[in-house]
């Protein structure tokens, strides 16, 4: 028997949960078909999560491509099918591969498994990032470096902790539902070991009755814990840095792992800070959302100039 997992018309961080729920009900070894025929739109998180779904199962899954030509074309230009073809048995006609010059795809879906990949993505986005973040979203030029740093640290989580490759994608789009403005979104997803198992491998870890995915996420995201902190106090700063970055730019950070999801929520959003008892899905899935700047908001910097001014120089 084949279990059909239906991809909703709009696939984002929230609606991906429907896929994880359906997947959790399908026993390991079952034949699974991911049916995206009715999909019309997907966020970078949605597309990278679709790849992780295939990665999470031992058996090779089937995948039916979207029927809508625009959707198909966009997913193709975002690089989705190049990776999907390696993981899924893809059913349906795909558009011919073309060079990607999509103005709102800042970074097409890129696989991450080693440090060189991180250098690659950071190098590739640099020029385009300034155009999009400053030119299109009206953010101060100071964000460009911090954005690259955030991208680097979020990708390194895969290299250092996942035990398996993952994917990153960066895109801008108009976030109509919550904001009515444009946003830039970084999605970094893998189906590896996840935060709980990663932290459990630390010699510092002390198991307790309360220990679960939610607590592991709190330790990693809020308390900057890392499995490498034992003997190296400098570890665990990546996620803390990402958290500061989103705070500084009125952005949002959410990280899902196992059965829990933690979110650092800005004023413009009404998400829950912690969601537990979600359907189990392996690995870690992270989304960083930075909104377009509207009006004359002071630039939140922690630059050398600010420090020099503070020092009275």
């Amino acid at each position: 028997m084949t279990t059909v997992i239906n991809v909703p018309p709009s696939l984002d961080e929230q609606s991906v949960e429907q896929l994880f729920e359906q997947l959790a009900l399908a026993p390991e070894g079952d034949k699974i078909l991911v049916d995206a025929r009715h999909a019309r739109w997907a966020s970078p998180y949605g597309l990278t999560a679709l790849l992780c779904i295939a990665q999470s199962r031992r058996e090779r899954l089937g995948f039916t491509v979207p029927e809508n030509a625009d959707t198909l074309s966009y997913w193709s230009r975002a690089g989705f099918f190049r990776h999907a073809a390696e993981l899924y048995d893809v059913h349906g006609a795909l558009p011919r591969q073309r060079e990607t010059h999509e103005s709102d795809v800042l970074l097409e879906i890129t696989s991450i498994s080693k440090s060189d990949d991180v250098h690659g993505v950071v190098g590739r986005i640099q020029h385009k990032a300034a155009d999009i973040l400053h030119g299109q979203l009206g953010l101060d030029t100071a964000i460009t470096g911090a954005f690259g740093m955030t991208l680097s640290e979020s990708c390194q989580n895969i290299v250092e902790h996942a035990g398996l490759g993952g994917w990153v994608a960066v895109q801008t789009y108009k976030y109509t539902r919550r904001l009515g403005r444009r946003v830039v979104v970084i999605a970094v997803c893998d189906a590896g070991v996840g935060f709980r198992q990663s932290l459990e491998s630390s010699p510092m870890h002390r198991r307790s009755d309360r220990w679960d995915d939610a607590m592991a996420l709190e330790d990693a995201v809020l308390r900057a814990m890392s499995r490498f902190r034992h003997g190296d106090a400098g570890r665990g700063q990546g996620l803390a840095g990402i958290r500061r970055f989103v705070g500084r730019w009125q952005g949002k950070l959410s990280v899902r792992s196992g059965t829990a999801r933690i979110a650092i929520i800005p004023e413009w959003d009404e998400d829950s800070p912690m969601t537990e008892s979600l359907p189990y899905f392996p690995g870690a899935q992270m989304q960083i959302t930075i909104p377009e700047r509207i009006g004359d908001v002071p630039t939140p910097t922690r630059g050398v100039a600010a420090l020099r001014a503070r020092a009275g120089r």
Binding site: H119, M149, E153, G234, G241, R302, V304
Partner: protein, 187 residues
Amino acid sequence: MSVTIDVGTVLRGTVCALYSNLVTRPTGAAVRHAIERQVTDIGGPAVTTIDFSQVNLLDFSCADEIVAKLLLRYTDANGPPGYLTFRGIHDGHIDPIETVLERHALALVSWHEGCAELFGYVDEHERSHWETVRDHGPVWPDKVARMLHVDEPFALAQLQRLCTRRLLMTRDDGYAVPGTVTKALGA
């Protein structure tokens, strides 16, 4: 003797000629090891200046591997002799550098357009004493005490603490910021 090490050159020369950004922990560790080798080969200069001006992007991992771990080594009781200073630190570097300095309770001396700056984890007294030495040094504790309206033993204790942290150096003509001059050391 003083020496300046260009981190951008080290990155391209020892890690990968194609890399232009200091990102990822293995890259940071490789650059730090190359810097340590250079310092050893030169023979332990009195002041080593790490120049970041050719570095575009620096992430937390590299800031930790290069800046924090080099400083930790220098401030260790069994660390190498001499002083470590920095230059070429720009806006894009400051967040990861300040973050790792705070994490390890470290501070550094950075040179910018001929002026020394103090970044990182220092208390109010340490900063005021350091700034007095920067602005008026080489200078002895009695003069610092008078300028800051504190007791001389207190000023001496602060200056000694800053020396232990390698944020100041002692010379035969008083306390000075490392990198100000290179003659007659007494670390």
